[in-house]
């Protein structure tokens, strides 16, 4: 377990620290950045687990600060890294931004949180919702008696007692992000769907919820025929509120939800999926200039539309004098990221668009840039899931017997969606591409 936790600025100077066990001199942290840089120099990049002089350093980097835990034991790294992650989540929801300034401004509350979230190196409450019940930013006089979170004495540690909403509502967002790597000729090199069911719960009392999905394994387990299409979810992982034993037994998803926003479950599907948006590109290099022609195709059904499509195409650093033409959307040059961005506000299914781009080089070069960065694509397609997952029902039972309204939304988004660039054609004569 962790002996101490530090928040450091980007020069490695402690902004705030909490010594939980007193078994390692706090000065050990002075070496941290040196070790990190040494390691980075030796191997090109420093992994999140470092050791020096008998001390283990585990860290996360967030913007301009480091969150570091130290230990002198053969401790569970993933537990500690996960704890640091939670710490960062809690700080972010308390101060909006986790950065040097917000740490300095809120040192009192950070001490309180550090005190409450870990004791003697053992992680304690790490849910923002629970912590907010008794650690608040307004200074509190004991007239309003601060009490330990009701969750501590409850059956469930994630939901306080006595919630009341005039209008009982539940919102379910099913968000699927597509990770995909596509070769220049359009074949999928690797692809997966990372799905998440995000909930917003505004329900009174202690409701018990039951969620039904078109899960193939559940139909099989109960020996029922599925009416529509059932999907095979590979690795499903749940928020701690879900009764995992029940799910293991008959694949029922039953839970008493926390209040407000949370991710109920995440799932991953590694099935073969067809790319939703593909780009075919031709790149030509001439002496002193570079020509692009890119054809983007929306390969989903016509009744769906992708919104806010952004296709980012990298160009060499010293490219200048851009010229663009496109059949749909608009193109802009973003020299700060050495790319041009093709934006299509609405891209209807089975439509396609063409783009021509021209760049000049200030100097005439012989050596060609052999390093090629991939094209990356951003998009979101509402009312559509790639996997075909569907909510069949969401039952809400509370002892007071109120009626609650469930709302469901589906959306498919890009994850890490990349298309590799083809080898540029080296031409000495005129371009074969149409004129701009």
């Amino acid at each position: 377990m962790a002996s101490a936790v530090f928040i450091l600025d980007n020069k490695g100077k402690p902004l705030i620290a909490r010594d939980y066990k007193g078994d390692i001199p706090m000065s050990s942290i002075d070496h941290f950045l040196v070790i990190l840089q040494e390691k980075a120099e030796q191997e090109g990049s420093a992994p999140p687990v470092l050791t020096h002089n008998g001390v283990v350093y585990l860290y996360l980097q967030e913007k301009d600060i480091y969150l570091v835990a130290i230990s002198k034991r053969d401790t569970n790294t993933i537990t500690i890294l996960q704890f640091l992650q939670k710490l960062s989540n809690v700080f972010t929801s308390y101060f909006k931004n986790l950065e040097e300034e917000s740490i300095r401004d809120n040192f009192v509350i950070i001490y309180e949180l550090l005190d409450e979230m870990m004791d003697y190196g053992i992680p304690q409450f790490t849910e923002t919702k629970i912590l907010q019940e008794y650690i608040t930013q307004e200074s509190h006089v004991l007239e309003i008696q601060q009490r330990p979170p009701t969750a501590a004495t409850n059956v469930v540690s994630w939901r306080p007692d006595g919630l009341f909403y005039r209008k009982n509502e539940v919102f379910l967002d099913i968000v699927e992000s597509i990770n995909m790597l596509i070769s220049p000729n359009g074949t999928v090199l690797s692809g997966e769907i990372l799905g998440a069911i995000k909930m917003k719960v505004y329900l009174s009392g202690m409701p018990e919820l039951r969620l039904g999905l078109n899960d193939k394994a559940m139909f099989e387990k109960n020996g029922r025929e599925s009416k529509g299409k059932a999907i095979e979810m590979e690795d499903v992982r749940f928020h701690q509120c879900v009764r995992l034993n029940k799910f293991e037994k008959d694949r029922t998803i039953m839970f008493i939800p926390p209040d407000g926003d949370f991710d109920l479950m995440t799932y991953r599907l590694g099935i073969q999926i067809n790319p939703l948006i593909v780009c075919e590109s031709v790149v030509e290099t001439h002496r002193g200039r570079m020509e692009f022609m890119i054809k983007a195709k929306a390969q989903f059904k016509q009744r769906s539309t992708a919104n806010n499509v952004e296709i980012t195409v990298p160009v060499p650093e010293d490219a200048d004098s851009p010229k663009f033409k496109c059949t749909i959307g608009s193109v802009s040059y973003a020299p700060e990221i050495n790319s041009f961005i093709w934006k299509i506000k609405q891209f209807q299914g089975s439509k396609e668009g063409l783009l021509r781009a021209h760049f000049g080089f200030p100097s005439i070069r012989d050596d060609l840039p052999t390093k090629r960065l991939p094209i990356s694509v951003k998009f979101d397609i509402p009312y559509f899931t790639t996997s075909g997952i569907q909510v069949r029902y969401l039952k809400i039972v509370e002892k007071s017997g109120y009626q609650a309204l469930p709302w469901v939304r589906y959306i498919t988004k890009n994850g890490e969606y990349q298309i590799r660039m083809p080898e540029p054609l080296q031409l000495t004569n005129a371009s074969r591409l149409p004129k701009i």
């Binding site: 420093a46 020096h52 009192v108 004991l142």
Partner: protein
């Protein structure tokens, strides 16, 4: 005259008074400086206004946070401890924790308030008092903490009980006898059966902590040994436990030895649902448990079921934050040593993503070589070729090395791998061409037919043509030179041109390059005596007479003597078959692997080093803790010794790393730097 003297005395006395005045002023000034902020804070802390006192306490803590010494205000801060403002109370407690070690005798002044707070009607305050008292870590507190702690262990509020459970471990660390004598440990043991899961979780964590302390003390017995009824109880409540509690219970179970195969299977089955938990550590610790329990199970059906369950969970962990992903990838590399084929079908999940941090890319490349099989080889080769074109030279170099290693593993496909490298050489990029030269040179030793074929006919001529690109990397240069000498089928004219180009620069080359030139030129001479005699003689002459490096001179002298004797015996020695370069050989020993598997996700298994390699013993810690105020010298000392240790550790890890084949190149360097 008189007047004059009068005047004089007058001025003297005036000056004296002026001086005195000045002195007072300057004294005031100096005093002010001395008093500084702490003096001001002291006044504020003793102010009669509550708000000002509160602000003062805040400022004291703020100063403490930025590392200013405010220990001088100890008594003044303590005066404010009796307050009903929880924020102030918390801040003062924090102050006490920081300075208790410096002023242990003064801590006693605070004891009364602590004891009083531990009886407060607000459970939050009771818990706060107990928690802080435990954190003071001074022996002086022992006499005062026992009673309140005993009371709080049986508190009606679960929040207080869970805090007291942890506090018991703190007391145990201070004094083993006290914790046993006053029945504190027994109270925590009975908490494992508490009706509140939070309390159970903290009791388990605390007992494990005490076991750990006992282990480090060597002479003490373990505090807590699991029995079957406790195991059953823990498994029945694990689902209701909060995430960190689940980890504590799972870790306790990993160390437990089930009484029979049946109970092992029962535990495994009860742990299956944990694989679906959102917390990565819960998932990985469950995997750890399932894998270590395999040794208790003989039923192959169950074993297969376990493996089937583990695969998707391991893969799902790969979509977490990069830091956690790193730990997962390192763990997977261990799992694969035990179950080599577990993830072969999932190889695509390990393909690099363009924005992965480098340390993730490195691990993934390692695993890709490991996961490769006949069916995925083709796809993997094209991926690796793609990575070698990456911007980052260290990724690109590792990818080329990976292609080489795949060639070594799948001998039938070595030629296909070599073709991939040839394509990379054709790109004429500095980094890729350098690393390719090194890899090809190693392949040429393992694959005679390739060395005599494509390597001689196409690669070596291309590399010689682009010799300028190799210039900046001595390893690459040495590799090309060695290859040019060793491969018999290269056109002699090309090799001759290469050596003629190298000869005038010989003395400016690095040692490794010089050695390679000497070796290779001798071989070349024995094969083509007429063509190369004068050139090689010139090289050897330079090496023996002008070269300042002893190793090079020795080697050159040895060849000189050999060549001046019987040319046939020289041929026999020099042109003999060289042993193959072995890779894939140094696997972890079984006991070490089992140890790492038992600690999957822990530091030792992430680093793949036994704990003794990176941790210090309890004694050396005691030493360094007693002189916390080390001067700069001793820190520097430590640093250099630690550097040495680290250096050795790095090397031992290299040797244990089963794929590393480049130690041969590195050894001469090692000799020099030591």
């Amino acid at each position: 005259m008189n007047r004059n003297t009068d005047l004089k005395t007058a001025t003297v006395s005036q000056i004296q008074t002026n001086l005195a005045r000045l002195k007072i002023i300057s004294n005031k000034f100096i005093n002010n400086l001395k008093k500084g902020e702490n003096f001001e804070l002291r006044t504020e802390l003793n102010s009669e206004y509550r708000e000002r006192r509160k602000e003062a306490v805040r400022r004291v803590i703020a100063n403490m946070t930025i590392g200013k010494d405010v220990s001088g205000l100890f008594t003044d801060v303590l005066k404010n401890m009796q307050t009903d403002d929880l924020e102030i109370k918390k801040l003062i407690y924090l102050y006490l924790m920081s300075y208790a070690k410096v002023k242990p005798d003064l801590v006693i002044l605070a004891v009364n308030t602590f004891v009083k707070d531990s009886e407060d009607k607000n459970p939050l305050l009771r818990a706060l008092a107990i928690r802080t008292m435990g954190c003071l870590q001074v022996v002086e507190i022992l006499d005062y903490i026992i009673d309140p702690l005993r009371r709080c262990l049986y508190d009606k509020d679960a929040y207080v009980r869970k805090t007291s459970a942890v506090c018991t471990a703190k007391v145990y660390e201070l004094s083993e006898e006290a914790a046993i004598e006053y029945g504190l440990i027994d109270a925590v043991k009975s908490m494992v059966a508490d009706k509140n899961t939070l309390v159970v979780a903290n009791a388990v964590a605390s007992l494990r902590e005490m076991n750990e302390i006992a282990k480090n003390r060597n002479n003490s017995d373990l505090v807590w040994i699991l029995d079957e009824t406790t195991v059953t109880h823990m498994l029945s409540i694990i689902n209701e436990c909060f995430e960190w509690g689940q980890i504590a219970i799972l870790e306790a179970l990993v160390d437990y030895t089930p009484s029979s195969e049946k109970s092992a299977i029962y535990i495994c089955k009860s742990v299956f649902p944990r694989l679906q938990h959102a917390n990565c550590s819960v998932v990985l610790t469950s995997i750890r448990l399932l894998l270590t329990y395999q040794k208790f199970i003989t039923n192959s059906e169950i074993l297969e079921q376990v493996n089937k369950k583990i695969v998707p969970s391991l893969i799902s962990l790969l979509s977490s934050a990069p830091e956690i992903q790193y730990a997962v990838l390192r763990s997977i590399s261990l799992v694969l040593q035990q179950h080599p084929n577990l993830l072969s079908k999932q190889i695509r999940m390990f393909f690099l993503k363009y924005n992965d941090p480098e340390y993730i890319k490195f691990e993934k490349i390692e695993l890709l070589v490991h996961l490769c099989d006949e069916t995925s080889l083709e796809a993997l080769l094209s991926e690796l070729s793609e990575y070698s074109k990456e911007i980052d030279p260290s990724v690109s170099r590792r990818s080329i090395r990976a292609i080489e290693r795949i060639a070594m593993r799948f001998k039938d496909h070595a030629e296909r791998c070599l073709d991939a490298i040839i394509d990379l050489i054709a790109l004429k990029n500095v980094e890729t061409i350098q690393e390719s030269a090194i890899s090809v040179s190693r392949l040429s030793r393992s694959f005679q037919d390739l060395a005599n074929g494509k390597i001689s006919s196409s690669i070596i001529p291309t590399l010689c043509e682009n010799y300028t690109l190799l210039e900046s990397d001595p390893n690459a240069k040495a590799s090309l030179i060695t290859m040019a000498g060793e491969c018999a089928n290269v056109s002699p004219q090309i090799v001759f041109d290469l050596f003629s180009e190298l000869e005038p620069q010989f003395l400016n080359e690095e040692e490794s390059v010089q050695l390679a030139i000497v070796h290779a030129s001798v071989i070349f001479f024995l094969r083509n005596p007429e063509l190369s005699q004068t050139l090689v003689l010139r090289i050897i002459e330079k090496a023996t007479e002008k070269c300042p490096n002893m190793d090079v001179r020795d080697v050159a002298c040895m060849y000189w003597r050999l060549l001046s004797g019987d040319p046939n015996s020289a041929k026999q020695v020099v042109l003999s078959q060289k042993p193959r370069i072995l890779t894939d050989s140094a696997k972890l020993s079984n006991t070490l692997l089992a140890d790492f598997m038992n600690h999957l996700g822990c530091v030792s298994s992430i680093l793949q080093l036994p704990p003794s390699k990176f941790l210090k013993s309890a004694e050396s810690w005691n030493k360094s803790l007693t002189n916390t105020n080390q001067d700069l010298n001793s820190i520097d000392d430590q640093k250099s010794s630690a550097n040495n240790e680290e250096y050795l550790a790095n090397h031992s890890s290299k040797f244990s790393n089963k794929f590393d084949g480049d130690n041969l190149d590195e050894e001469p360097e090692l000799l020099i730097s030591l």
